[in-house]
Every structure is written in C-alpha cells, then in structure tokens.
Symmetry: C2
Subunit: 306 residues, 2 copies
C-alpha cells in the first residue's frame, strides 16, 4: 500500500503562472494594442517593447497576492497590477537613458532608447505613466469610483516626489558620495520600496481590511521592499549579466552606494533574511487568513537568483 504524502498547501510556481498569464494578457490588450487603441507613429511599439515579454512582474504578483489576502475585487487588482508594472517599466526606460544610467541592456534585450531612439524612449515612458492612471479609472462599473480614486491617490504618491522619483533624485545626488546607513535606507525606501509597498497596499485596497490588517500589510510591504533592494545589490555583485538580464556590476562601476558596499556581502545576505523573517512575522501577527501567496513571495524574493 502506498503512503501518499499530503500535497503541499500552496505552490508558488503554479499560482504565479496563473496570475502572470492573466497579467500578460491584460498588458498585451491594454498597452496601445493595435487592434483596440493604436498609438501614432512608433510610440505604441516602443511602449509595448518596454513592458511586454520580460520582467519578473514582482509588483503585479504582490498586488494579486494582497488582493487574495483580503478577498478583494480581482478585476480591480488586475488593473492595479498592470498600472504598477507600467510605472515600474517607465522608470526603467527613463533610468536607462544616456543622461541617467546610460544602459544598453535590459531584460536581456537592447534598452528602449537603443532600439527606438532617445526621444521616442522619453515619450514612451511619459505615455506609460499616463496609461497607468488610465488603467485605474475604467469608465464602466467594474471598479467603484471610491476604489478608483483611492488607487490613483496611492499610486501617484508612490510614484512621485515623495516616492520613486524622490528616491531617484537622492540616488542622483549620492553618486560617488558615501552614504550613511540611514541615508541609504531612506533612498531605497523611496526609490524601490515605495512602489513595492504600494503594490501590496493597492492589492489590499481592492477589498476591505481592518486598520490592524492594513498596518500588518504595510509592515510586510516595507520589509519585502527593502529585502528586494538588498538582494538586488547582492545580485549585482554575485550575478552575471546573462542571468540578470541586465548589466551586472554596474553599481560598482558607477560608484553607487549599495548595501554591499556599506555592510559587505555576507552581512547583506543575512540582512535580507532578517527582513524576510520580519515580513512573515507581520503577516502572522495579522488575522488575515489567505496569505499563502504573500508568504511564498517573501521567501522567493530573498532566495532568488535574478
């Protein structure tokens, strides 16, 4: 007689595959789709090149996982997931421009300005940001107006001068200058943390949750967002360009302060693990039940190889 093991409760790979199929379909349809809403000249092509067929889609997965945890409106979450990814994608397009990081490789492909020219890349990034807010405000009954307004408010703040753009400004100002641990944390809290955290909070905003649950998700998002950046710094040192799909070692080449340059490699890896534990503790402290995906994502983000 066979003794069969109890199947695992939650398989991240299967869950992610399902979510990502939905997200990719939606992005393909919603980004200047030639069949539905074509863009003039090469603009649509540049926008689609910047977003489709690439990327880990960490932010969309966080949105969908948080929406599941609060049993929220899945359609609102799908729109939020795509909107957050558009903001992320536009920031990469602009970041890669010669006047910023001047990078030529992204997601294993030539960067947008290498392929379409700088002016088109600039416009494509601008148009992607606008499209993010368009996706959040469908002119139908699928997402109630209060949720639409709340999602726009959250995303605008996380993307703007008190979020991602603000973090990039600190980054610009800090090249070649030693940062203290406090300054480095502040830069990353804004530059990458704000958008990762708001992914969690937008997912949560697609349903209802208690203030205590929102606090727990906010802490989870902060810890996961920081852990993600710490691992990014680690992988920039230990990874190679082929695995990362982007130029490795560029932090050191640009003389940028990183967690590795501040703490050293081993301590950075340990720090990421501590942040993972902190993220899971936040989830466990809440009464939220369906947090399997959020748990598994925290594990995956810290143990990833790219």
């Amino acid at each position: 007689m066979n003794v069969r093991e109890k199947p695992p409760m939650f398989e991240l790979s299967a869950w992610s595959a399902l979510q990502l199929a939905t997200v990719e379909r939606a992005l393909t349809r919603w980004i200047a789709c030639p069949d539905f809403a074509p863009a003039p000249a090469d603009l649509g092509e540049a926008m689609r090149y910047a977003v489709l067929d690439g990327g880990k889609r960490v932010r969309p997965l966080l949105v969908m996982a948080a929406c599941e945890a609060v049993n929220g409106n899945a359609h609102a979450a799908l729109r939020s997931a795509c909107a957050v990814e558009l903001i992320h994608a536009y920031s990469l397009v602009h970041d890669d421009l010669p006047c910023m990081d001047n990078d030529v490789l992204r997601r294993g492909k030539p960067t947008v300005h290498v392929k379409f020219g700088q002016a088109q890349a600039l416009l494509a990034g601008d148009a992607l940001q606008a499209l993010a807010f368009e996706l959040l405000t469908p002119d139908d009954e699928s997402v109630d107006a209060a949720t639409q307004a709340r999602l726009c408010r959250m995303l605008a703040r996380a993307a703007g001068f008190q979020g991602m753009a603000g973090g990039q400004a600190i980054d610009l100002a800090s090249v070649g200058r030693p940062l203290t641990s406090v300054q480095l944390h502040e830069m990353h809290r804004l530059k990458t943390g704000a958008l990762l955290q708001v992914s969690v909070m937008m997912g949560a905003a697609c349903g209802s949750s208690s203030p205590a649950e929102r606090d727990a998700l906010r802490d989870y998002g902060a810890a996961v967002g920081l852990a993600f950046q710490v691992m990014d710094d680690v992988l920039d040192v230990t990874g190679d360009s082929a695995t990362l799909g982007k130029t490795a070692g560029k932090d050191a080449a640009h003389d940028k302060p990183t967690f590795v340059s501040l703490l050293g490699l081993q301590a950075s890896v340990e720090y990421a693990q501590q942040l993972r534990v902190r993220a899971l503790a936040s989830l466990n402290s809440s009464r939220l039940e369906n947090t399997h995906a959020l748990h598994a994502l925290a594990d995956m983000l810290v143990n990833r190889a790219h």
Copy 2:
C-alpha cells in the same frame, strides 16, 4: 450732468487676475512646498522652477471658466487647473531636453535642464506628472470620489498616447517631412489640442451639465485648442524671443511643418479667426448662461501677442 456709460459686463483682465492669484497660491503650496511636503535633493527646486513664476496659464483659466459655466465645485476646479498645468509644464521640461527640441530658453529663463542638469529635468518632469494625479485625488471630503475618478480618467487619456504624448510622437516622426492638412490637424489635435480641450471638459466635470451642454463645450474646446496652435505657429514667425519668452523662429529652424508653412501667414491668421467664431457659436448654441469668461478667453487666445 455726466452721461455715464454702462460698465462692461465682463472684464477678462480682472477675472483672470483673480483666478490666477488663486491658482498661483495653490501651485506654490502644492508643488513640493518645503514647508509642507519637501522633496529630496534638488528635485523639489527643479519642479518648482519648471512651474512657478511663469507661463500664461491658459489651461487653468479654461478650467476655471468652464467650471463657472456649469456652476461647479470651485475647489475641484482649482485642483484640476493645477493638475492640467503640471502636465503642461512637465511636457515642456521634457520637450526642451537635448534629445527632443534641445531648447535653452523658456518663459524668458534658462530651461530646466540648463539650470539643473538633464537627469534632474527628466525626474522633475516625471514627478510633475505623478503630482498632477495626486492633486486630483485629495484624501478628504473636498471632492467626491466619482468626480476624482472622472477627472483622473480624463486627464490620463488627454496626456497619454491617445492625446498629448501621441501628438508628440507624430511631431517627432514628421520633422523634415511635408504633412497634409489632415495630418497636421491630427498632430495638433493630439499634441496641444487634447490638453486644452480637456481643460474645458474637466472644468465642466466639476459640476453637472446636460449631454448637449457637454457637446457644446467639447466643440468649443476643440476649436479653441486648434486656434491656439494656429496662433502659436503664427507668433513663432511674427514674434521675437523677448516677447514670446521662448526661442522664436524655431519651427522653421527645425524644419517642422506648421500652419504657416502649410497655409501661409495671412490665411493662418484668418483661420484662427474662423476658429474663434466657431468656438463662440458652440457656446451660443448651448443653454449655458455664465459663459462670459469662456467667450473672452476665446477672443484673447486668438488676438494675443505672445
């Protein structure tokens, strides 16, 4: 005995001065104000430089005038006026970058990238776009959620690939190529027309109006938006840089198709006047009563010297 003339019903200059004082105060307070919401590094300074202390504020005036015509929520209109102006300002900052028009003079001052560097100018533009949507979604009771969502939807669409950014892409693709009248109209309908028209429609969305009234305002906005661009092309030829506050003659220098290159100077001036008449006829066909400011703005935009 003195015969006193009846005072004029409506004085645009007095009305504008009042509106602009309110708009400038709001912009000063809302754009990364150091006292309320400072931005990191030089970002806030660059954002404020891009917007404050300059500009004709045509779009904010159209918002406020349309809101008056429907007797709408003045606070929602003020936020809309500022949001539209931020989108306009960010587009100028990005347009002036070396990879686009490479312009050094704007509103009589060095352009943002000349003063703050290209990277900071890029970020400031990005942050201004995000801030526009933040302004439209205040976290209080001042603007109801349905209006917030509607305003975001309208602005996102007008700014994005089916609006301003799309028009700029056509512009990019058309340098040095002759455009037909249809193509030139399409470019300007998107590039400048969409944001001018949505200014009118967002003002209207701050109150209630009948479908027929909205149609009339939409036609007014389309005509005024086009007239504005025709006059821009005229002034680029007839004006001087000091009066315009920006580099004159740059369309011809960049070999850009314009209404003047297509129709000639005199016919362009006449075309602008026809569009003014069309805009006023749209207003007059509606049952809207308080359209003094919209009337006067149409006159002003066509008869301006800068």
